[in-house]
């Protein structure tokens, strides 16, 4: 089993609903966020190309944050989901330095916090909060080891990219182009 996410950059309108849903679902402190929407504009009007991406932790296969954690607080859960055990984290910041996506932050309570792919929901068979609220249904979440899953189907039929694959982290969020 390997959980992954595919996000359609052509359907996303950048409404930031995923961001608010995450903050509500996970009680993210004000001023912080576990996911965010970024916009890349290439060219000048009228020849412009805009790409909207809802970004978050890439739950990498070769996660540098798990590798460099001195206490084992950063670890893999089922399906390759990367999470932080709060009471094992000493707040040294090594994982924050090691992340090429800047997906981690230091929670005001001291420990390091990040996207969990809403593990508590996924365990109940539900979708992550961001996926479930998306009004354009541009996000697909599922098991890429399951040949019948929605996400495998989408990735088979569309071109896609991942972010900074040259960092060698084997990211598991795919952006449909």
């Amino acid at each position: 089993m390997r959980y992954a996410m595919a996000i359609d950059t052509r359907k996303c309108v950048g409404c930031s609903d995923c961001v608010v849903a995450c903050q509500t679902e996970n009680n993210v402190p004000i001023g912080y966020c576990r996911d965010w929407v970024s916009e890349t504009v290439i060219g000048t009007y009228p020849n412009v190309n805009i790409e909207l991406r809802s970004e978050r932790c890439n739950h990498c296969d070769n996660a540098p944050c798990v590798r460099c954690c001195p206490t084992g607080a950063s670890h893999f859960e089922e399906g390759g989901i990367v999470t932080v055990t709060h009471h094992k984290c000493i707040g040294c910041g090594a994982c924050i330095q090691s992340c090429p996506y800047e997906a981690r932050y230091s929670h005001p309570d001291g420990y390091v916090d990040k996207c969990t792919f809403c593990l508590h929901r996924v365990r109940q068979g539900e979708l992550p909060a961001c996926v479930s609220v998306c009004p354009t249904k541009c996000m697909h979440f599922g098991d890429i080891d399951d040949p019948n899953s929605d996400i495998v189907n989408v990735l088979k039929n569309r071109k896609f990219k991942s972010l900074a694959p040259e960092a060698g982290t084997k990211p598991q969020i795919f952006y449909l182009l």
């Binding site: 912080y32 460099c68 206490t71 707040g91 090429p100 230091s106 420990y111």
Partner: protein, 313 residues
């Protein structure tokens, strides 16, 4: 034209607009670790070579600074932690993949070694010192007998400690400026050089100063070579590494790096040491202090600048 912006807004403290999660504690910790490594390496080296008599300050006096530096360094590391009360978990977990994990263990091993070493010279350097308990005298006698055997692990662990201060940074491939394997050897030589400078400040023996001064010159030359090598490596690297090098070649750290680290921290003290060696009267306090300050600034710049560099997408 390419422009990136956050549609949803994103302004996380210490992460945006650019990463700044490690503040002044980490460079001070790296500096003290390198200094301790340099002092212990030289003390162990001259003991193994059997030159305790000629190198009094190196072998006997300077190592007294090491436990102080190490404990202060560990305290800096503690100050840097955001979840402070959980720090003990560094020592209930063994994570060999994590440089910070095994570095914490190296510090736990080398601090007692340095304490035993200074302890064995305590009564020689401070004749009025009294150990109070009999078992401490027995232990002291054992340590004095076995100094040569303590010196070997001390030299080895000193090298590991010195390299570790660089590897702590170079293990992060998300920070292109740090992600170069030369950083370990570079921080090691820089640590050796600051250690030698420290001995120059403490020593009163002209012959010893001459030997350490020559050694320090060698360290400075090697350090300059490594820095050149590092920048050449960046410029021959990928796009993110080229832009990392640009921070020192026209970017925001150009002046602080070239003026305070290269010229005032390495070239000028080296020149003063050469003048001293060929017979001019130069107070060695001057180059030694400049090397120490230069080493500290070098670590501040590397930690600050490295956090700015990142992958772009």
């Amino acid at each position: 034209m390419k422009e990136e912006l956050f549609v949803s807004g994103r302004n996380i403290p210490n992460i945006d607009p650019y990463l700044n999660i490690w503040h002044w504690q980490i460079p001070i910790y790296l500096f003290l670790g390198g200094l301790a490594a340099g002092l212990l390496f030289l003390a162990g080296l001259y003991t193994i070579l059997g030159k305790e008599k000629q190198m009094q300050a190196t072998v006997k006096i300077a190592p007294f600074l090491v436990p102080i530096a190490l404990i202060l360094g560990l305290f800096m590391l503690f100050l840097d932690l955001k979840h402070k009360l959980y720090f003990w978990q560094l020592y209930t977990n063994i994570r060999l993949e994590s440089p910070m994990g095994w570095g914490a263990w190296v510090l736990m091993i080398i601090t007692p070694i340095s304490l035993v070493w200074s302890g064995s010279y305590m009564r020689e350097v401070f004749p009025k010192w009294d150990w109070k308990f009999k078992f401490l005298y027995t232990f002291e006698a054992w340590a004095i007998r076995n100094r040569k055997y303590i010196a070997w692990p001390m030299v080895i662990y000193a090298v590991i400690l010195g390299i570790y201060t660089g590897i702590l940074l170079s293990a992060f491939n998300a920070r292109p400026l740090w992600n170069t394997s030369i950083l370990g050897p570079l921080f090691l030589v820089s640590g050796m050089s600051t250690g030698a400078a420290c001995i120059l400040l403490l020593s009163k023996d002209h012959e010893e100063k001459k030997i350490i001064g020559k050694l320090d010159l060698l360290f400075i030359v090697v350090e300059l070579f490594f820095i050149t090598h590092m920048i050449m490596g960046f410029l021959a690297g990928s796009e993110v590494q080229i832009s990392a090098a640009q921070l020192f070649l026209g970017g925001q750290f150009t002046v602080s790096f070239w003026v305070f680290v290269i010229v005032l921290g390495l070239l000028f003290p080296a020149l003063l040491e050469v003048l001293e060696l060929i017979g001019y009267k130069v107070p060695l306090v001057l180059p030694a202090t400049m090397i120490l300050i230069g080493g500290l600034i070098f670590r501040f710049i590397m930690v600050e600048a490295g956090q700015i560099t990142r992958y772009l997408y």
